[in-house]
């Protein structure tokens, strides 16, 4: 084992697996670490101080913390393009063999960064808000300035290749979700599990146990970590408990919905491994609905804000202990510890035990007297009382600490500074409960003066325990976890008795003092930079300046300085920043505001949020029963809602595939001269039964239904109560109290819900039931002059024109399959819509083609359908209408039952001043004067083609095609006062300056008397 190449690795200790050495690469250089390391602990073990450059000033930065709160150590992960992950926090990335990482900033490299010069020289010219104050002249130059500003944007970079991995979701339910498997969380989970509750326990770290894993304390006279292991193994045995290590609760949402992001494979490699032939999902989002939520999320230690506190070698005190005790890494040789509390003394004791020099403990309190203080004294560690580190010395690594006595309350340096030589400064300004999840749904945390931190305000169903609510003592935290679990279960009506917590030694701690920003001899604006938010390079001076400029709300301060907007969301800095703002404004912290957080607690890969809803599973494709045939016969498809509908069927002609125009010309001619067939199965179909079915139809349709006899079919218009057309379709009378309604393809679900809405909420007294039968029936439209000949070959239905008239329907067999055949037409030709139970559709369809060969039966798609119906002036709701068109605008007076006794939906609105206007846009036909012209759909129509812009627009082209039947382009349009403009010549101005001349005509272009459909 080559211990030698990891200079900061201790000979023993820590929870790493020394038998497993892992190689990794950082900024192109190879290093070694061990299984159980994070990238951060491995870098520290190897003495890598400089891990990044800062965002704005390009200052050298090192590792500060050991967990989610780390602001600096963001790296770009991945050895191949597709495996790139930007902005990975080295403190949260488990080491794996072959891990490849780079600093996200620094050019040409992080050691010698050109931009650092800019930072050094220009830093002073970049106060907060400097963008707002400059780059304004001349106005035309901003885009140029911005181009250069943008070059400096960002931390890591996006991969430029598609992700090789996939992600998934797991929906979970539990009675109690415990977030955090530290002392309070374990005690809570155990209490709930023993009470038989369904429990989920998650923890963001590689290993459960939280602070117990690096704790100095004993539980039941054994190392705390051992107790944690016992609890975890008991929980693992319990079927009702789900343990999720490596899983971050990243968002708390309303009604106890919590998203847990489980990193399933990120600790194994840069792409997910394959196990038993299945490639694991890279990570998994657990979408948890919890009866109760217990937050045992612990606390983040606050660093002190002093000069040059960002130089590598400055750490938070707790991180020092964690690296030593959990990873067997001492991140330096000579430590100065600057504290405001007893708890942090542990860092010095651990450092001392690791055999390295503690230069001094600098304690801001005049007379620290807790047990840990005594222990430190007993070891002969120098304690400098009433003092703090004013300023770190050093450039790429701490070389010393300037220390002086201070008056924290008066914000003054009171003594002469002493320079202590050291390479590491650890600091602690107290502990901020991790309250993020509790505030995700808007609850405002409250300031607790006793613990000098915000404690969560809890919404219904959420509980906090242990450090997460300021109970930092180990013994109390354990008991608190158990007690809160019983409270949570009681809220579900479940009784549980709190577990007997393990025996823990209570360590008497002296009172902490409030210290955030350490005063300097120079005023803040002139002092060396004192960083508050290291990721966004926000200094104490910036906050002071913001308050001077009138930014008094903490929200303003944050926005003006960008404090807390980084990927760490200000976990280390926000409260220090608030304290500084409060000092500048002469207010208290709670008066300045509160701190709220938004999901995510830590950033989450888009892929994990997306889950399997991507690529081929992004959105359902709905198929008709005939889909396979369409695919095999070369259909091009159109997306209509979620349906895949054949758009057209290009044929190979002389070895070349037809264009759409060619195919559509052929298909539409076939229908007008021979016979064509359309798969119309996607139309919505609703079975309506009941004695009041007819009355109901009369209320929801604009036209009359009282007299429609069984065997007959009628077209209907459906409006909303604002009078605007919403859907249309035919409805057939199957029996006196039985109807089959059809809807548009896209409108099917909406119409079904619409009918239910009116029935359930307005007219429950009407006896009627609606049932969707869209998928039950397959619908095939056979249409064209030869339709009767073809159909008669394979049906027992009497197709005689007198026996089976237009707008009749009949039962019978088609291709030996029982069918309902509707003689309705959307093409203007003789047409039969054959409906069969969908399982038999393919047989009927194929039989039609067998018999249709001699008639050249031509399959056609939606494009030809559109052309054919447009030639007949038949609208498509949603294309020729847009939610602002009434039946009157469409000129469909024949379908408006003005004298129906019930004021049907939409009727009242038609007499409002605007809907009754005579010059509303009305539905008309347009014929281009040049028959070769096919107008652009959506083009607008004007009277005066030479009018300067803005032009007065009369309306627009809703549908436009070339008609092989008319041998001309033609269009449908809505035009102001259109019905009074028949024969008028208008213009359609195009982008190229041309204007097409058009004549306003009837929208019915073919067979105006409608004879062909009656043949």
């Amino acid at each position: 084992m080559s211990q030698s190449n990891q200079p900061n690795r201790l000979r023993q200790g820590g929870r790493i697996d020394r038998a497993r050495t892992l190689s990794f690469t950082f900024n192109g250089k190879r290093y070694q670490g061990h299984a159980g390391d994070t990238l951060a602990s491995a870098l520290l073990a190897n003495g890598v101080d400089l891990v990044n450059r800062s965002f704005k000033y390009s200052r050298p930065r090192g590792i500060v913390a050991a967990g989610a709160e780390e602001p600096n150590a963001l790296v770009q992960l991945g050895s191949t393009e597709a495996a790139q992950v930007p902005n990975v926090r080295a403190t949260q990335q488990a080491l794996f063999e072959g891990l490849t990482a780079q600093s996200t900033n620094g050019w040409p490299n992080v050691q010698r960064d050109v931009m650092s010069l800019v930072g050094k020289l220009g830093g002073r010219f970049m106060p907060p808000g400097f963008y707002y104050k400059t780059f304004m002249a001349p106005a035309s130059m901003w885009m140029t300035y911005e181009k250069y500003i943008r070059k400096g944007a960002g931390l890591g970079r996006s991969p430029m290749e598609n992700d090789p991995d996939s992600y998934d979701h797991l929906n979970q339910h539990c009675e109690l979700l415990v977030v955090g498997a530290g002392p309070a969380g374990l005690a809570a989970a155990l209490t709930a599990a023993r009470a038989g509750a369904r429990v989920i326990l998650c923890d963001e770290q590689e290993e459960m146990g939280g602070s117990l894993l690096a704790s100095r304390e004993l539980l039941d006279d054994q190392p705390a970590a051992q107790w944690a292991e016992q609890v975890i193994s008991e929980l693992a045995e319990n079927d009702n408990v789900t343990l999720l290590p490596r899983t971050t609760a990243n968002g708390y949402h309303d009604h106890n919905f919590v998203t847990l992001h489980e990193r399933r494979t990120e600790h194994l490699g840069e792409a997910a491994p394959t196990v038993d032939g299945y490639r694991l999902t890279r990570s998994r989002m657990h979408r948890v609905r919890a009866g109760q939520v217990l937050l045992a999320t612990g606390a983040h230690e606050r660093p002190l804000v002093y000069g040059n506190n960002d130089v590598p070698g400055n750490l938070v005190a707790g991180a020092v202990s964690t690296y030593i005790r959990r990873y067997g890494v001492v991140p330096g040789n000579k430590l100065v510890l600057s504290v405001s509390n007893d708890h942090a003394y542990r860092a010095a004791l651990d450092w001392d035990e690791a055999g390295r020099e503690v230069v001094a403990i600098v304690d801001a309190r005049r007379h620290p007297d807790g047990e840990l203080v005594e222990q430190a004294r007993a070891r002969g560690i120098r304690i400098i009382e009433g003092s703090a580190v004013l300023e770190a010395k050093g450039d790429k690594r701490v070389s010393g600490a300037r220390v002086a006595t201070i008056d924290a309350a008066a914000f003054k340096v009171t003594g002469q500074a002493e320079l202590l030589e050291c390479d590491t400064i650890a600091s602690s300004g107290g502990y901020s409960p991790v309250i993020h999840l509790a505030s995700h749904t808007g609850a405002r945390p409250t300031w607790d003066e006793e613990i000098l931190g915000f404690v969560p305000s809890l919404v219904k169903g959420v509980h906090a325990a242990g450090s997460a609510r300021g109970v930092h003592d180990l013994a109390e935290g354990l008991a608190d976890g158990a007690a809160k679990a019983t409270e949570a279960l009681a809220a579900l009506g479940k009784s549980a008795s709190a577990i007997e917590p393990p025996r823990a030694e209570t360590i008497r701690e002296g009172e902490a003092c409030a210290l955030y920003q350490v005063p300097h001899e120079k005023p803040t604006l002139r002092a060396p930079k004192q960083f508050v938010d290291m990721q966004n390079d926000v200094t104490a001076a910036a906050i002071e300046l913001a308050t001077r400029e009138g930014f008094e709300s903490i929200e303003h301060v944050k926005r003006y300085t960008a404090m807390g907007f980084g990927t760490d969301q200000g976990k280390l800095g926000n409260i220090n920043g608030m304290a500084i703002a409060a000092r500048c404004l002469g207010r208290s912290i709670p008066e300045v505001g509160t701190t709220v957080f938004r999901p995510n607690y830590t950033p989450v890969t888009f892929g994990a949020i997306v889950g399997r809803h991507c690529r081929e599973l992004f959105d359902p494709e709905r198929y008709t029963a005939l889909h396979q045939w369409h695919v095999e016969n070369g259909a091009e498809f159109e997306d209509v809602g979620q349906w895949k509908r054949p758009w057209y069927f290009p044929r190979k002609v002389n070895g070349k595939l037809e264009t759409m125009d060619e195919a559509v010309a052929r298909e539409s001619l076939a229908v007008r001269t021979g016979v064509g067939i359309l798969d119309a199965s996607t139309l919505g179909k609703i079975d309506i039964q009941g004695p009041d079915a007819r009355e109901f139809l009369g209320r929801v349709y604009t036209n009359k239904w009282a007299k429609l006899a069984p065997g007959r079919v009628r077209y209907g218009l459906m409006c909303k109560d604002d009078g605007m057309l919403m859907d249309d379709g035919t409805t057939s009378c199957l029996g006196e109290n039985h109807f089959l309604m059809t809807t548009t393809t896209g409108g099917a679900a909406g119409v079904m819900e619409w009918l239910e809405l009116w029935h359930q909420t307005e007219w429950p007294e009407l006896q009627v039931y609606f049932t969707s039968v869209t998928d039950h029936w397959a619908t095939m439209t056979v249409t064209g002059p030869d339709a009767r000949k073809l159909l008669s070959e394979i049906t027992d239905i009497d197709l005689d024109r007198e026996q089976f008239k237009f707008m009749d329907w009949r039962n019978g067999k088609v291709a030996d399959v029982p069918a309902r055949v509707f003689r309705i037409s959307f093409t203007g030709e003789l047409a039969y819509e054959i409906n069969v139970q969908a399982n038999y559709a393919m047989h009927v369809w194929k039989t039609l083609f067998e018999h249709g060969k001699k008639y050249d039966l031509t399959p056609y798609g939606t494009e030809t359908m559109h052309v054919l119906r447009a030639e007949k002036g038949l609208i498509i709701a949603g294309q020729d209408t847009d939610g602002s068109v009434t039946p009157e605008d469409l000129g469909m007076f024949w379908a408006i039952g003005y004298d129906k006794p019930f004021s049907w939906i939409g009727k009242r609105a038609l007499t409002r001043p605007d809907t009754a206007r005579k010059d509303r846009k009305q539905f008309v036909g347009l014929k281009p004067v040049d028959p070769k012209v096919v107008l652009e759909e959506g083009a607008h129509i004007v009277v005066d083609k030479d009018q300067p812009i803005p032009m007065d627009m009369l309306g627009h082209v809703t549908s436009s095609y070339y008609s092989p039947n008319l041998e001309s382009g033609f269009a449908l349009a809505v035009i102001k006062g259109g019905r009074d403009r028949m024969g008028e010549k208008l213009y359609v101005p195009m982008p190229d300056g041309q204007a097409h001349e058009v004549e306003v005509v009837s929208p019915v272009f073919i067979d105006p008397k409608g004879e062909r459909q009656h043949v």
Binding site: R289, L757, R908, P913
Partner: protein, 124 residues
């Protein structure tokens, strides 16, 4: 992400199974033809839009397909109750703590007595 008790399925279901349908208890005027334009406009478009307790119409779209009402706080998003069409809420801006079950029962009896004559819609 609401967890909604469907009063028909009688259990809590995830929000994604439901569709919100706007303010509850907006009945279509009995005689539309006698409404003024302003009255018709009020029925179509004008809404209470309160910050606080709100009664709203939802449908259990992926589920039993029944419409029902929710009393919800539009600021905290807490759902105070769900109730079937034709029922009256216990909680309201006037009664944020909820009327007692007895009061509701008494009101229901009175309302039913009053409904015998009229064909009042269930949304009223």
């Amino acid at each position: 992400m609401f967890y909604i008790h469907c009063p028909y399925c009688d259990e809590y279901r995830d929000e994604e199974e439901f569709h919100p349908k706007g303010q509850a208890h907006i009945a279509r005027p009995e005689d539309p033809e006698s409404c003024t334009d302003d009255q018709w406009g009020a029925y179509l478009f004008f809404r209470d839009n309160p910050r606080g307790i709100h009664h709203e119409l939802w449908v259990h779209a992926i589920g039993c397909r029944k419409f029902f009402n929710i009393t919800r706080n539009s600021a905290s998003y807490e759902i105070l109750e769900t109730y079937r069409m034709g029922e009256q809420p216990r909680f309201s801006a006037e009664h944020p703590e909820g009327k007692s079950v007895e009061t509701v029962a008494a009101e229901k009896v009175a309302a039913e007595a009053g409904m015998v004559a009229g064909q009042e819609g269930v949304k009223a």
